[in-house]
């Protein structure tokens, strides 16, 4: 079954209201992400990647256009519904979206479940399961300051996935990591995608990160300019193609 988890049509985002200076960050964006797909979005700085992700995750409202996530039109949601939707359907890992440093790793991971009023006795097994899946079961009692950068992002990933959201969004999740930790995190995401059918939308401008994706959308001046598919190739070849493409795309 190839149903779309994300479907974006004619999405426009203009900043500046009233008589403020207007700036159109997204002009006419159209794309879909299928269930279980691992999609990357690349683009130069200021091309509108974060803007797009904020709209997809109901943190910001579009000026016009439709956004369906899990077949629900999120542009029609009210404030509380937006928050609930975020809590239920979306998982986040951001570069600076770290953990709450006054909660332990386990408490951080449990938070989305508590917020959805999951019964306390069901919370602990779920936290334990996702922690095992991400190999962080022995740091669960640590506070964020007692974790390495890579561990932190894996805890963040655990927190993003513990409530089984429809899709995982990442905005430069490897941005603050050294190359080993970055590779580990990407491999974890890759395996989550393959083995647990987690849909992932990854925003990055790092070609290495992007090479883990099955499909890459290039965004330029607020529009999707080009699309690359990995197909059956191995990652090294795909990486090369991305590099070549960036060279031509940037012109």
């Amino acid at each position: 079954m190839t149903e779309n988890v994300v479907a974006v049509q004619h999405l426009v985002k203009t900043y500046g209201k009233g008589n403020e200076k207007k700036f159109t960050a997204l002009k006419d964006v159209n794309f879909t992400v299928q269930n279980g797909e691992f999609v990357g979005i690349m683009g130069a700085s200021g091309s509108g990647k974060t803007t797009l992700l904020n709209i997809l995750s109901t943190l910001d409202k579009p000026t016009s256009g439709n956004v369906l996530i899990n077949n629900q039109d999120i542009t029609q949601l009210k404030n509380n519904q937006m928050a609930d939707f975020r809590g239920r359907e979306i998982g986040f890992i951001f570069q600076d979206f770290n953990l709450l440093e006054n909660l332990t790793a386990a408490e951080n991971i449990a938070l989305p479940l508590s917020l959805q009023n999951v019964a306390p006795k069901e919370i602990q097994p779920k936290v334990a399961a996702i922690a095992k899946r991400l190999s962080i079961e022995n740091v669960l009692d640590h506070y964020p300051t007692e974790l390495s950068g890579g561990q932190k992002q894996r805890v963040a990933a655990a927190r993003a996935l513990v409530h089984q959201p429809a899709i995982l969004f990442g905005d430069e999740p490897t941005g603050a990591l050294d190359s080993n930790s970055a590779r580990e995190l990407l491999e974890t995401m890759d395996s989550l995608n393959r083995e647990d059918q987690v849909s992932i939308l990854l925003v990055t401008h790092d070609p290495f990160s992007a090479s883990y994706c099955q499909r890459i959308l290039f965004i330029k001046d607020g529009e999707i300019g080009q699309e690359l598919r990995r197909g059956d190739r191995n990652r090294a070849d795909f990486y090369q193609e991305i590099l070549d493409n960036l060279g031509t795309f940037a012109e």
Partner: protein, 613 residues
């Protein structure tokens, strides 16, 4: 260029600056108002029951306390300013601004802000002192002598005190910002303190705290035995006791709640608990201090109002009758008719030379009221209102208490130097005395306070009608009421003033302490928002967290006051009488501060959902 940048920084944070600025103004105004009282020897001397020297000691003690609170307050306000500005200044440094230039800027900013706030605050303080004094005089019927809203020495002291503090703060700020590494300024998120909880130690602390509190409370109750020693003993034990109890119970309760997964794992509770435990060490000291200040402030207001109760109690104890009519005319009758009378009795007498004759039959028919003194020792007790019975007037000697009190109430004379000379006789004998029959009317009203002014008017009408007998009025209930008012007004005023000043200071301290943590919370609330927390859930979490920080010292402070009032048993009739009123006033004001803090905190941390469709 840099100062332009700095100015634009101020503009973008205008709201926070306004909060800080108004906070400083409140501090300066309070300090000024207090000093206007404390340094005015004339006022203190004229308005206190315990003498100018003693009152000065109370006020010097109060002034020192207030200075310490102000100092603490400025430290918190200053850390709020620092927290607010350090990112901006860190940025300027990243851009390559010279540190000396930055230091100069920070110094100027702190100093100018402080000086302007002090000046404005002192002026507002003058106005407020005037308003408060007038309000109290009108509402409580007080009489104040030698009270000046504008008092130059107080003005100078306030300005000097604050400017010195602001210079120190300015130096501190500029040094602190310069010494800190730029990166730390940019990412100055607090590090969590892992709570190393040793249950044994907590238990010892809790027990020690309770014992200390008990000793303190006992000392206050035992003021008769301990004398002046009670106060320092109570102060030391209660301060330490508050700290230990807070530390132990606060940490223990949070631990307990966090361990109880059924409680903690619901909604944002775990986050709220962690927020509290995150700042625990910072807060316990502060909260212990606030609980003491709270007690002092609430105590001052309670005692002030207590004196007011005393004032009316002392007045009503002076004589059972509210008004004595010994002459009458049309104007007097008119006024008397308007009184809300509960009993009105006429007694006749005849006067031959210097001797008064009274008719026993009249007393048997309507026996008189009198004040009964039970005569216990030490504590101030009030006499109770009682009434003689008919048999009290039968077959008793002429100098019996019943006849004595009747004579005292009924005598109408123009010369009170003479010794009593009276005879209580039966109806036949009374009729035989050859002299005109005169009458004295004794009136009791429902509420003396309400009819006070009219009674005063009737008395002066009587004095006009029969000037020779004016002296009768000098020990009327009205006269004692006027004396009591004069005596107690100063005390009531001081109690109120002290209470309100302390409250304003302590609540602002708490407010800025909490608000200065808000900037490091912005990121946390932003994360929770991204994770899909409804904004009303976030708002509730803020209200709860701050609510606990306000409620705990408040509750302990109330307990302190309830025990502390024991101290005033030696000065007042019943310090606990009608304490709901000061408690209510206080809790409303305190609650107001709580609400303002919540609103400001929310303004800082709750992410705004942008909707521009």
């Amino acid at each position: 260029m840099l100062s332009k940048l700095a100015l634009s920084g101020i503009k973008s944070r205008l709201k926070d600056y306004l909060v800080l600025f108004s906070g400083l103004i409140v501090a300066a105004a309070t300090f000024y108002m207090f000093m206007a009282l404390a340094t005015n020897q004339d006022f203190l001397g004229k308005n206190s029951m315990i003498g100018a020297a003693n009152t000065s000691i109370v006020f010097i003690f109060g002034a020192i306390l207030l200075a310490i609170i102000t100092l603490v307050y400025l430290v918190y306000a200053n850390s709020f300013l620092l927290n607010m500005r350090q990112r901006d200044y860190g940025m300027f440094m990243m851009l390559g601004a010279k540190t000396s230039k930055i230091a100069q800027l920070i110094f100027m900013e702190t100093f100018v802000l402080g000086t302007v706030a002090t000046l404005v605050g002192s002026l507002i303080g003058t106005g407020l002192a005037q308003i408060v004094a007038q309000l109290l005089v009108q509402q409580l019927g007080l009489k104040l002598q030698h009270f000046n809203a504008f008092y130059l020495p107080a003005f100078l002291i306030t300005i000097a005190f604050f400017i010195v503090l602001f210079i120190l703060a300015a130096i501190w700020n500029s040094r602190k910002l310069i010494k800190a590494p730029v990166l730390k300024l940019l990412h100055s998120a607090d590090q969590p303190a892992r709570m190393a909880v040793k249950t044994g130690r907590l238990a010892v602390q809790a027990i020690l705290g309770v014992i200390l509190l008990a000793v303190g409370y006992w000392a206050m109750a035992a003021i008769k035995q301990l004398q002046l020693l009670a106060i320092p003993v109570a102060l030391v034990t209660i301060v330490l006791g508050s700290y230990f109890t807070f530390n132990a119970t606060f940490i223990w309760i949070i631990q307990f709640l966090k361990k109880n997964k059924n409680f903690a794992l619901k909604g944002l509770r775990n986050f709220t608990l962690s927020q509290l435990s995150f700042r625990i060490h910072d807060y316990t000291r502060m909260l212990a201090m606030i609980s003491i200040l709270f007690a002092l402030a609430l105590g001052a207001i309670t005692v002030g109002l207590g004196f007011r109760n005393d004032m009316s109690a002392v007045t009503s104890a002076s004589t059972p009758y509210d008004l004595k009519l010994y002459t009458t005319n049309q104007a007097i009758d008119q006024q008397v008719a308007k009184l809300n009378t509960t009993s009105k009795t006429a007694y006749s007498f005849k006067k031959v030379g210097k001797k008064y004759y009274y008719n026993i039959a009249e007393f048997e028919k309507t026996p008189m009221y009198y004040m009964h003194y039970s005569g216990s020792t030490g504590e101030i007790t009030l006499p109770t209102l009682q009434r003689y019975q008919a048999k009290d007037y039968q077959n008793v000697k002429q100098d019996s208490p019943a006849f004595d009190s009747a004579y005292r109430e009924l005598r109408v004379d123009d010369n009170y130097e003479d010794l009593p000379n009276y005879a209580f006789v039966d109806q036949t004998k009374f009729d035989q005395v050859t002299a005109p029959t005169k009458q004295v009317v004794l009136i009791r009203v429902k509420d003396f306070g309400k009819d006070r002014q009219r009674i005063g008017k009737i008395e002066s009408l009587q004095a006009q009608a029969l000037p020779a007998y004016k002296e009768i009025l000098s020990n009327s209930k009205y006269a004692s009421a006027m004396m009591a008012t004069a005596l107690y007004s100063g005390m009531i005023f001081m109690g109120f003033f002290l209470g309100i000043s302390f409250l304003a200071m302590l609540a602002s301290c708490l407010m800025f302490k909490i608000l200065s943590g808000a900037y490091s919370d912005v990121r946390r609330y932003d994360m929770l928002n991204k994770m899909g927390t409804r904004s009303q859930v976030l708002r509730r979490s803020v209200a709860k967290e701050i609510g606990i920080l306000y409620a705990l010292p408040g509750a302990l402070g109330v307990i302190h006051v309830l025990f502390g009032l024991q101290l005033f048993k030696i000065l007042m009739v019943n310090p606990y009488h009608g304490i709901w009123l000061p408690f209510l006033i206080f809790i409303v004001l305190y609650g107001l501060y709580y609400w303002i803090t919540v609103l400001l905190y929310r303004g800082i941390v709750i992410p705004k959902v942008e909707i521009d469709k």
